[in-house]
Amino acid sequence: MILDTLTSPVILFFVLGFLAALLKSDLSIPEAFAKAMSIYLMAAIGLKGGVAVASSGVTSDLIVAAIAGLALSFLLPVIAFALLRQFGGLSKIDAGAVAAHYGSVSVVTFVTATEILTGRGLGPAGYMVAVLALMETPAIISGLMLAKRGEKQTNANAGTPWHEVLTNASVILLVGSFAIGVIAGADGFAPVKPLFDTGFRGVLCLFLLDMGLIAARRLVQSRKVTWRLVALAITIPILNGVIGTVTGTFIGLDIASAAALGILAASASYIAVPAAMRLALPEADPGIYLSMSLGITFPFNIIFGISIFAALAQMLG
């Protein structure tokens, strides 16, 4: 199955980008174009999820999955924090910042997983997009709580940046286009479908080309990641992914959606959370959390994680 993944153009473009950066090629995707693609991908996935929920309605599965997602995002940082402190040897602040990343989710990992699973007839339910959006922020709160546990009084400047967290671009875009999808329904979606559906996988290829470049450069430029942290950047997603997949199966989700919940749990944020951490914990070292989540966990999930948790969900389901 991993081999299967490795012949998909989507993954191959990621590998191409990764190799190009390791070879120190001057290949680069203009930032504006990369950001445009990420906006497109989020709008597309939000719309499609919303349209799916518009036709299925609000089911009990949706509600159960939403609660499970919220709980996972809130609780997974606790385990990660313990590992990062004990085994990883990080300071309380750095450990809290990194833990928040692993509790939150990576939109691109989810999108790639959806594409690959759908290609195998394992497309997750539309409401998983809502779960994705819900899982972005709780981890930020628990990460900050862990980082500041035991401190007397947090000064105003360093408190949780509630406003930024709740109105952050990816949350607004996902929730907003999900809502538009729900309102417009399949009929309203039809006229915009050519752009948001037909072109989707091609754009994902080019976006993953860029993510490969960014991930490998991040890996090469990082100076502060010890071997223990490298090990954790692979162990934590496996652990989280297993917990997520088992939870998904246990609460009765279909196989594909349980796999998707596992992948969400395994994925680490590299958009919303770094921005929030830079604001709320400026003392935490961005070199550590970006190298781990973007340089190691992201490629691991794209190439191995997706297949692993899909296989696990099929075994359990």
Partner: protein, 103 residues
């Protein structure tokens, strides 16, 4: 000859996500103007970076501020506590300004 006055030119290199915080500090010391200059990439003791809009967290920006000497001193005092935790690079030089009354 046109009249010029001496003012301070302050350059603050800051992580883009933190720039609004510095702007808030400017306003707090009654400096009313600033400009954000686009920085493409750079390197320092903590490694190299490129501007990248996807994970905005690793981009940096230069805040350019023209201010009077008095306000500049106030600003430096105000920024002192975060200079290290925000990893700011702060430089100050002298400039002649035309229409300098406004600073």
């Amino acid at each position: 000859m046109i009249q010029t006055v001496m003012r301070k030119r302050i350059e603050i290199l800051v992580d883009t996500p933190l720039a609004p915080r510095i702007v808030a500090q400017l306003k707090a010391v009654d400096i009313s103007g600033w400009s954000l200059i686009h920085v493409d990439s750079g390197g320092g003791r903590s490694g190299e970076w490129q501007h990248d809009d996807v994970t905005g967290a690793s981009a940096k920006t230069i805040l350019l501020v023209i201010a009077s000497e008095a306000k500049t001193e106030k600003l430096v005092e105000a920024l002192a506590p975060v200079l290290d935790s925000y990893r700011l690079l702060l430089t100050i030089s002298d400039v002649q300004v035309v229409r300098g009354e406004r600073f």
